[in-house]
């Protein structure tokens, strides 16, 4: 994990609703893994104070002298609005790469990537790494409406098979990704599932994965104050190794990627069992 004063290389509008920020941060780009995130500090303002965490959407290690990372986000409040107002050459304080990324399977070949809304952004990075490792990549991506799908063209290019769903039917299948998922798994012969997006989607994908006895890795999003493991704001309820108890585990350092089967989805917001040990650290 590094802290930098990086430099904005470019800001561009990404589709109708999203913004893309490319930041020069060679050390972060060099070591980042798909699923990890960066914590960006928006320019100072009195209405917000905290950093903003974003999944790393893509890295460019190629131009080694000034390797970059890219994040894609939508404006949700004054902090993200300030980030969206940043322009080339602006200095930006960035911490990263943070957290545990997606694991690349050793023996399994067919990987299905499932994304929802703006949460789908780490799929670009993941898909490229999987393909570089010689895996088959298929993509299933959903959103509420066409304009909230992230870069459909590139997802099409990424997947051997790519399907889209929208809640309003404006693009692709009219419905949810989980409506298409069983069919997709069978058609593609999927052996591993990767999912990132809204929590209900991750939970539903996990349920289907368990039914098909497939490993599933999910990237969780939680409210986060520090992103470096000290505030304990971002915890998620995770079953311990034996499955006998549930512990509050930091999504920033121990996550954001977890084995979906170990997330205690239904325990969210309820009292937890006593811990029976420290979570793997």
């Amino acid at each position: 994990m590094k802290q930098y004063t990086g430099e904005v290389l470019s800001h561009r509008k990404h589709g109708e609703e999203y913004h893309s920020l490319t930041v020069v941060a060679p050390d972060i780009a060099a070591s980042a893994r798909p699923g990890q995130f960066v914590n960006l500090r928006p320019p100072a303002d009195r209405y917000y104070i905290l950093r903003r965490p974003f999944s790393i959407c893509r890295v460019n290690r190629g131009s080694g002298w000034a390797a970059t990372i890219e994040v894609i986000f939508d404006i949700r409040g004054p902090g993200t609005a300030a980030l969206a107002a940043m322009r080339a050459h602006d200095p930006i304080d960035v911490i990263g790469p943070i957290g545990q990324g997606f694991a690349i399977p050793k023996n399994r070949q067919a990987c299905l990537l499932i994304g929802g809304g703006v949460g789908a952004t780490p799929l670009f990075f993941l898909g490229e790494e999987l393909r570089a490792a010689g895996k088959r990549v298929d993509v299933l991506c959903g959103a509420s409406r066409a304009s909230r799908l992230v870069n459909t063209l590139e997802l099409k290019r990424l997947g051997a098979m790519t399907e889209f769903t929208t809640d309003d039917g404006s693009v692709g299948y009219h419905g949810l990704v989980t409506d298409l998922l069983p069919n997709m798994i069978e058609r593609c012969g999927s052996e591993v599932l990767y999912a990132c997006g809204p929590r209900p989607m991750l939970q539903a994908v996990t349920a289907i994965a368990i039914k098909y006895r497939l490993p599933v890795q999910v990237a969780l999003e939680e409210q986060m104050a520090c992103g470096i493991g000290i505030c304990l704001s971002c915890v998620a309820p995770i079953y311990n190794q034996k499955g006998t108890g549930v512990m509050h585990v930091r999504t920033c350092l121990e996550g954001p990627v977890f084995n979906g089967a170990r997330v205690a989805w239904d325990r969210y917001g309820t009292d937890l069992d006593e811990a029976d040990g420290p979570p793997g650290n």
Partner: protein
Amino acid sequence: MSDIEDLTTTELLRPSELVKPIDRKAEAEAAGRGGRPQADLSVRLAGIPLRSPIVTASGCFASGKEIAEFMDLRVLGAVVVKSMTLEPWQGKPPPRMVETPSGMLNAIGLQNKGVDYFLRYDLQALNAAKVPVIASIAGNTQQEFVRVADRLRGAPGVIAVEVNISCPNLEDRSSMFSHDPKATAGVIGNVRRCLEVPVFAKLSPNVTSITDIAGAALDAGAAGLSLINTLLGMAIDIETGKPRLGGVMGGLSGPAIRPVAVRAVYEVRQAYPDVPIIGMGGVMDYKDALEMIWAGANAVAIGTANFIDPRSTLDITRGIERFLVEHGIRSLSRLRALSGPRSSPPAPSATPASAAPSPGAPPSAPLSRR
């Protein structure tokens, strides 16, 4: 291929010119151990010599391991670790944090791995990092506080214990120990009896008179006070009408609460001119820290600022040092002696330099106008 390589090495900026990685060596030197003449930041807190007045606020630094990746912990006067309880606690359900104007609300609920884990793992790491430790303890009942304190007796490197009585209390139902002078005195008295190191009582600002509670803690044997814990607050989602925190209500911290903290420190300092005070609440930069010192704090704890910039404590330490050098003040104790908005004359036990501004004192204008 070689054309491209030539281009990158000759005509384009190198990464080091575009970004500034952390230079730990320069940091260590700037922090005063590299031989350059700097102001003396050392302070005494309840008889304990600290190299700097800047410490961490409990719960905002974990046990230091994470931040050690970003800065040298030896810059700090002490690390006040996250409050520990007898058994591991899982804390409140998520969501646990909401950002608010100039602040944040949290409802973590003292999640921690318990005192035994602290002694076995965290304390060892802190001792290896050579940083003094102030152990913060919490519990649901008086008995729990005492049992945690008991385990900490003689723990190496623990220079003081901070008793977090501003957490929910089951004995008195929904209130906190620090809401009631009697409950405060009970816990502090019992904890103090099983420890040899000084005991600091961490008080809540959510009371009618913080000086009354402070008095009760001091009478019961607290060596000093930590002022203040978070303010109780709440946020509601307007779409659903439901509380935005899993724990419904939470603690407000950050710059939004600084004036409350400065007031509390000032008020208690007025009432108790000699009591050691660790001041905290929304201190974001060295100016805020100096304000807290003027208000009467002997040491200043940094909380929420760590979340925003993991190197805040380092920046603040450097800032204070620079301020002293720029004003021609050689040491922090001299600055503290210059005035501070006390209405009564400094007590005899105060530092010897307190009599009058010495020749080394700064130009009178900016400082004495306080």
